[in-house]
């Protein structure tokens, strides 16, 4: 089938992730949505790699996974910290800084 469909799927996933970031309050879930977006990127890379018939895209996907993992480490640390302080992981509670 046309590999372009995979790109469309990737775009779809990306959009879902972005919308999730907008709609969900819980920091953890927002963060997972971001991860979803990253994975959408991976899918796109792999699909394109297939289309171009080289493996560069696929290699990139691996790098991205590693980076994502690192991001998870840092992210969870930060979120945990604020969760312990506020006893809530809701983003909307954290708005001391404004205007």
């Amino acid at each position: 089938m046309d590999p372009m469909n995979y790109i469309v799927l990737a775009a779809l996933l990306f959009t879902i992730g972005a919308v999730g970031v907008l709609l969900r309050r819980n920091a953890i879930i927002v963060f997972m949505c971001v991860e979803l977006m990253l994975n959408a990127c991976n899918l796109a890379f792999v699909a394109f790699a297939r289309m171009h018939g080289d493996i560069e895209g696929q290699v990139i996907a691996f790098f991205v996974m590693v980076v994502a993992a690192a991001e998870v480490v840092v992210g969870l640390a930060i979120i945990m910290q604020i969760f312990r302080t506020r006893r809530s992981a809701s983003l909307d509670d954290a708005n001391l800084l404004k205007y």
């Binding site: 790109i7 990737a10 990306f14 992730g17 972005a18 970031v21 920091a27 927002v30 963060f31 971001v34 977006m37 990253l38 959408a40 990127c41 796109a44 890379f45 699909a47 394109f48 790699a49 289309m51 171009h52 080289d54 493996i55 560069e56 895209g57 990139i60 790098f63 991205v64 980076v67 690192a70 991001e71 840092v74 992210g75 640390a77 930060i78 979120i79 910290q81 604020i82 312990r84 302080t85 506020r86 983003l91 954290a94 708005n95 001391l96 800084l97 404004k98």
Partner: protein, 549 residues
């Protein structure tokens, strides 16, 4: 033909990696790793000193190496790519890296500054604010010496960011730069709730934006069949990888440009991707804010310039309208919002947004002069803003505790401590672009490039918005000098050697670059003799093998 098809061959003859050209990055990286090891093995008491020493040494070494590298660059061509073409080394890159290293050194002074044994960072970030164990840690005088390795890693990312020669490297650099910063933002000693909130916001939005960047990279890859800047440039000229020879790849490219732009514009804090800046700048520990306001901005613009000039340089007419709009928005909106800010750190945050807008006009110019103008502007701004934040760290509330952000309570500062207020006034005037300060030369450089490139309307908007910005810079001066202190007014803690040094450096740089910018402008910056196209001075080899000498 695509070189990757015969990848196995490369495994037999490994790519020649020019370690000499990689040395600066390697030094910083090594120092960072070493710092982590020290955290593990060096006893608490001695860590701080060692860490600071290590960091300073590393940055100094990196700077020296960079200076030496300038000599070893091939005189004829603009520069070379190293490590199988993932990193570019040319005079532009070295200027950016050098600037970042120096600025990082200076902000390291701020970071290492401490008063009566306490630096700007939480005793133990893991503890809950106001809790028993927090107090215990404070009593015990424990501290986060991890700060220094983190800073080193961040700097590493910053050094890579403008040097990356393909989108993957750039993405990694982006993350290496950002992740430590996310953490550092959350480490403030006082007002920890603010600090933590800043960290969360910065992190989530940053991750969000880097996702955009990455998806954009994917699109570009799809269009060009490679993420290497040189390859992409060729592909753009050719109209896409050969699977798109039909010429229907344009949408991919545009999507790619757009999404990548979003990621980068977020990092430079252009409107409407700026919301994070005020909050994060205010919440983060001031020394870290200083680091971000100077080094991160330089790095981000370095990357942005590279992306728009090298890979996308061929399709300037397609992204220029976009940058026009963004630049106008940035200059106008941020300037207007800033007018009513009360907190000095938020104010400086908005001001840095406005300045990003000014630099964008140079990007729009899309010429070598524009590139040079932007480079000068960033360097000048970096030093000035460091000085400004250094002053902020010294102005405290009566109880001597936390910094006094509220401007209205700065009244009479100019009469109490004229030297400090005078220094800040100088920085503010430089921000406002008053002649005889570096700010004016910078403004002139970028605007001159823009006018020469026919973007005069943009410049008109620019000058009008800088008139608006002048209003709030001047207001600070009014508060400091013209108002009588209400009651006792603010206290000014005596500037330690480090902070004092930062302020002095800031003043010196601001005046020097304002009075005698000639040397920098003439010798360190790319001149349009090489060609009016910026790519003429930025390395863009397509082949991955040119790293070999």
């Amino acid at each position: 033909m695509i070189p990757h098809m015969d990848l196995p061959v490369i495994t037999e003859t490994p790519p020649n990696i020019d370690w000499w050209l990689l040395a600066p990055l390697a030094t910083v990286f090594a120092a960072g790793v070493l710092g982590v090891l020290f955290e593990a093995f060096v006893p608490k008491g001695r860590r701080r000193g060692i860490q600071i020493g290590l960091a300073v040494l590393a940055l100094l070494a990196a700077f020296v190496l960079l200076v030496l590298q300038v000599g070893s660059l091939p005189a004829d061509e603009s520069g070379v790519t190293v490590a199988a073409g993932v990193l570019a080394v040319d005079r532009t890159v070295i200027f950016f890296q050098g600037t970042i290293t120096v600025l990082a050194l200076v902000s390291l002074l701020l970071i290492s500054e401490r008063r009566d044994g306490r630096d700007a960072f939480a005793a133990q970030a893991a503890t809950v604010p106001g809790s028993e164990e927090e107090r215990a840690h404070i009593m015990a005088g424990s501290q986060h010496t991890e700060v220094y390795p983190l800073v080193l890693f961040a700097v590493l990312g910053m050094l890579m960011f403008p040097a990356s020669n393909d989108f993957l490297t750039m993405f990694i650099a982006l993350e290496v730069m950002s992740l430590p910063l996310y953490l550092l933002c959350g480490l403030a000693r006082r007002r920890r709730l603010f600090s933590q909130e800043a960290a969360v916001k910065y992190f989530l939005l940053g991750a969000f934006s880097s996702a955009f960047f990455l998806f954009g990279a994917a699109m570009v890859y799809g269009y060009a069949g490679s993420v290497n800047f040189g390859e992409i440039r060729l592909a753009v000229e050719a109209g896409g990888a050969e699977i798109f020879r039909g010429g229907d790849g344009e949408p991919l490219l545009l999507m790619g440009i757009g999404l990548v732009a979003i990621g980068l514009l977020f990092k430079v804090g252009a409107v409407p991707f700026h919301n994070w800046k005020p909050d994060v700048y205010q919440g983060a520990p001031t020394p870290i804010t200083a680091l971000m306001a100077s080094c991160t901005l330089v790095a981000a613009f370095g990357a942005l310039l590279r992306v728009f000039f090298v890979p996308f340089g061929g399709s300037a007419e397609s992204w220029q309208p976009m940058l026009w709009v963004v630049a106008v928005l940035t200059m106008v909106v941020a300037a207007v919002i800033a007018v009513t800010q009360r907190d000095v750190k938020r104010l400086l945050a908005y001001s840095s947004v406005v300045h990003a807008g000014f630099v964008l006009t140079a990007v729009v110019a899309g010429s070598t002069d524009g590139l040079a103008g932007a480079m000068f502007y960033l360097a000048a701004y970096g030093f000035t803003t460091l000085g400004a934040f250094a002053v902020v760290t010294l102005v405290r509330t009566r109880d001597g505790g936390q910094e006094l952000g509220d401007l209205d309570r700065w009244a009479g500062l100019g009469r109490r401590s004229p030297a400090l207020a005078g220094a800040l006034a100088l920085f503010l005037l430089a921000f406002a672009g008053i002649p005889l300060t570096s700010g004016f030369i910078g403004k002139f450089a970028v605007f001159e490039a823009a006018v020469a490139a026919g973007a005069t309307p943009l410049v008109v908007v620019g000058v009008l918005s800088s008139a608006v910005t002048a209003f709030f810079y001047v207001r600070i001066i009014v508060v400091m000098f013209f108002r009588d202190p209400e009651g006792e007014g603010p206290t000014v803690v005596r500037a330690g050697a480090a902070t004092g040094g930062v302020i002095v450096i800031g003043v010196a740089a601001t005046l020097l670059l304002g009075l005698y910018p000639g040397p920098v402008l003439d010798h360190l910056l790319p001149s349009s003799e090489a060609g009016s196209e910026p790519v003429a001075v930025m390395v863009d080899q397509a082949s991955t093998e040119t790293g070999a000498k």
